[in-house]
């Protein structure tokens, strides 16, 4: 099956959304959290201001670091942008789709993780080593959950490309509702873990000992740190699109599809904000159990499809 390029205006729109939208999402989450706590909170566009400020700042490098220190931020953004080409935003097909792009999608995030871990270890700091070790261990559980979800969808839609896999749900009928909810549950757990949100990780805590992702980038500053922040928000959008596509109803008009997709992405950010306001972070030893729940949910989704 050769890849296909949908007509350019949609590709352009897709690229624009992938490039420009991401920093809005953390802003939305922060706003929801602030409102829930009764505060005004920072402006929704705060991350855009932060990125602009960091891009102008000079970076500080420790004498312990080598070029690997920069590979983390670069890899996270480059891999995230390539992955964003593979996932459909709403009911418009992704710019690039071919059989087996699912695997490339998952492995691109693996690549980003690998390089982030290495750039954390490059500082020689024990805090960052701790975060890196946790990231490596927890992702070993998140990966099977993601893949089992893909397996369930592949079984249901007899397809191996993200676009048909995620978008064929509506046509498949009622039989899929149960498995779909389970995949959604499993992937929601993966979403929270991969994006280091509460209850797996707390992006706002001030105690480095308890962090996972934020502690890995303690030593990044200036432009490298801008890329780190941008990469994290990109991940929120790209993995979020995965979740949103599963439940998005198809409409008859393309502009309505886009609007619906963006609205749902906003709702997802709101939901993440609500989860963060309502729950506390798990103890580190409980996190694997939470992730195993994700694996089980996707696994049961797959089992349900067999009967």
């Amino acid at each position: 099956m050769p890849g296909f390029l949908v007509f350019p205006s949609h590709v352009a729109l897709h690229l624009l959304v992938a490039l420009l939208l991401p920093p809005l999402i953390p802003g939305l989450i922060a706003k929801v959290k602030a409102r829930m706590a009764g505060r005004t909170g920072p402006p929704v566009l705060q991350l855009y201001y932060d990125l602009a400020r960091l891009a102008r700042k000079e970076a500080v490098f420790s004498r312990t670091t080598t070029w690997v220190f920069l590979a983390g931020p670069v890899g996270a953004v480059a891999a995230g942008l390539v992955a964003s080409l593979l996932v459909p935003f709403g009911h418009t097909p992704a710019p690039v789709a071919f059989e087996g792009d699912v695997i490339l999608f998952a492995y691109l995030f693996g690549l980003a993780r690998f390089l982030t871990i290495l750039s954390a270890l490059d500082t020689g700091s024990s805090f960052e080593g701790m975060g890196a070790a946790r990231e490596a261990a927890f992702s070993a559980l998140a990966e099977p959950a993601l893949f089992l979800g893909f397996a369930a969808l592949a079984k249901a839609t007899a397809s191996l490309s993200l676009t048909p896999m995620l978008l064929a749900q509506g046509a498949a009928g009622v039989r899929l509702t149960g498995p779909l909810i389970l995949v959604l549950a499993g992937w929601a757990i993966v979403y929270l873990a991969e994006n280091s949100r509460i209850p797996v990780d707390d992006p706002n805590t001030h105690l480095e000992l308890t962090m996972i992702h934020e502690v890995m980038v303690l030593d990044h500053s200036g432009r490298p740190f801008a890329l780190v922040l941008y990469g994290a928000s990109l991940k929120l959008v790209v993995l979020g699109a995965l979740l949103v596509d599963l439940v998005l109803p198809a409409t008859s008009r393309p502009w309505l599809d886009w609007l619906l997709f963006l609205g749902c992405l906003g709702l997802l950010s709101g939901a993440v904000g609500l989860v963060e306001s309502a729950t506390a972070r798990f103890r580190m030893t409980k996190v694997p159990q939470f992730l195993v729940a994700g694996v089980l949910a996707s696994g049961f989704a797959f089992l349900l499809l067999l009967v």
Binding site: P2, G3, V60, F61, S62, R63, T65, T66, V68, L70, P73, V74, V77, A78, A79, V82, V96, F98, E99, G100, V102, I103, L104, Y107, L108, G110, F114, I117, L118, L121, D122, T123, G124, S125, S126, F127, E128, G129, A132, A133, R134, A136, A137, S139, A140, A142, E143, P144, F147, L148, F150, A151, A154, K155, L160, L218, R223, P224, F302, L306
Partner: protein, 646 residues
Amino acid sequence: MSLYLLAVLLAAVSGLPGLFLRRRGGGVAAGLMGLAAVLGIAAALRVLAGGAAGRLGLPAAPLGSPGLLVLDPIAAWFLLPVLLLSACGAMFGLGYWGERPGARLLRLVYGALAAFLALLVAAAHPLVFLLGWEGMAIAAFLLVMAEDRKAETRRAGWIYLVATHTGTLCLFAAFGVLSAQGAGAFAALPRGFAASGSGTAVFVLCLLAFGFKAGVMPLHVWLPPAHAAAPSHVSALMSGVLIKMGILGLVRLLSWIPDPPLWWGALLLGLGALSGVLGVAFALGQHDLKRLLAYHSIENIGIILLGLGLGTMGKSLGHPILQALGFAGALLHVLNHSLFKGLLFLSAGSVAHATGTRDLDRLGGLGHRMPWTSAAFLAGAWAICGLPPLNGFVSEWFLYLGSFRALALSRWPWSVGVLAALALIGALALACFAKAFGAVFLGMARTRAAEDIHESPRSMLVPMGVLVLACALIGLAPALVAPALDRVVAALGSPAVAGLPALSGLASLPLLSALALGLLGLALLLGLWLRPRRRDAALPTWDCGYAVPSARMQYTASSFADGPVTGLRWALLPRIHEARVRGLFPGATRYESHVPDPVLDRAADPALRLSARGLSLLRFVQGGHLPVYLLYVLLTLLTLLVWMVV
């Protein structure tokens, strides 16, 4: 064919001139090996590009075999890594081993090992195969024993010798069963043979024989100690190519069988999943860089077996797509693993050469002083984790595609196990190589040994560079290898399934290349944007404001792997020695943990010790007195006489 024979000959004699030359013997050997590689690879590429298979036979009918040596697509495919790695290793050896005592003999035997390996891949007659097999085993034993002053090396060598000969024994039996059936080996077997009793016997015996060589769990006992003890360029050749000869044997067997029973494929899949998951899990627990790499070889053999199992299932179930994707994934992974594991062992050798230690927790910060070695190891780690855009991703991608396709092909979803195993292996391998690369090359030097070092000489760096380029080439342009791979896969297919789909039709390889190039371009742009304008060399790591971070405060390799190792302790059974802390002012204390091998240290070693103790009861029979032995002779003769008369 003549090119190939010339290559084998050149490899075999590459060490000879060095025996008589006072100097430059190593250079001559490396040059001859390089020439052999160029000639042999040219011959292999000609066959893979669709040329006629070369053949060397005897005038007399050679016992029902197609000839003595046949350079068919399968042989050509395995010949590529054999010669490439031999040449890279020979060159690496120049700087790594130099003119230490024993260097001449080492080069001689190294050349012999390369020649036997090259002979074995094209063997088309049981006798030639066994000759190559035994020659390879003995040459490798001699090479492992290169540093036989160390007790560790001697132990590793003897374990290897016992394991390889147990395997050879099974191989003799397998060929015996084959010829007893009148079925000529190295030719297609009749339908129905595989399902018969003798077919089962042949499969089980071959699985044992080739499993010992390939290091399939639980027959892997010899692999970690031997790889750790051998000189690094020898480890590279052993891990890259020698263990693949077990895979070659299985591939040959599968190519003769037109109708493998379903349980063959299922067993291969089961063994593959076991080797893959446990291999990487045990690698996580290792502190020795080369032992860690050796366990990863077991893991990768597991991935290859998963591919062979998928292909065999496809053959049994009559799904050509599955057959093509499974076998293609397995065969491409054979080549890929040779490239990146060779690369990793060479870079590990470079580390050991510079620092004199292989202990992860005594290294650190090598990236500053050994930038090229560090980049080479990173490339190898990148590829072995199956991350895009290097070659490891392509072969794993074929396997994923195959197992996803299998979900739709049959009602019973056995391949979801393959998917889960592949995903788990991938994630654990990533953790393990992050640990290894981080502990060795990143952060600060943990001991003096890791501090006073310098980059390895160019003769060691060039072979690594060649292997990095090969990894990148396959990763960026998989469409280049697809036609060759199609021919090898077709050689594995039975005549009944003639219409195997071409890989280029199954997978959109050009798009994969385009995305890989896009990824690289994007990374380059971002890297340029980030390039620091000036670096202040005096700044320490911020570390939340801690003023004097010391190397001892770094996270060690053991602590990095602690999470997964604790999570898998029911399988790994780590041994932890820790002193209890007593009193209000406890004194100095120590903590140690290591993960012993499950089969060698926990089962084989105690069992063999016990049986040795039991058998020592029989020792009085061997008293050493001549009259007693004469008495034995007499008694034997009498018994025989009585038996013949009655």
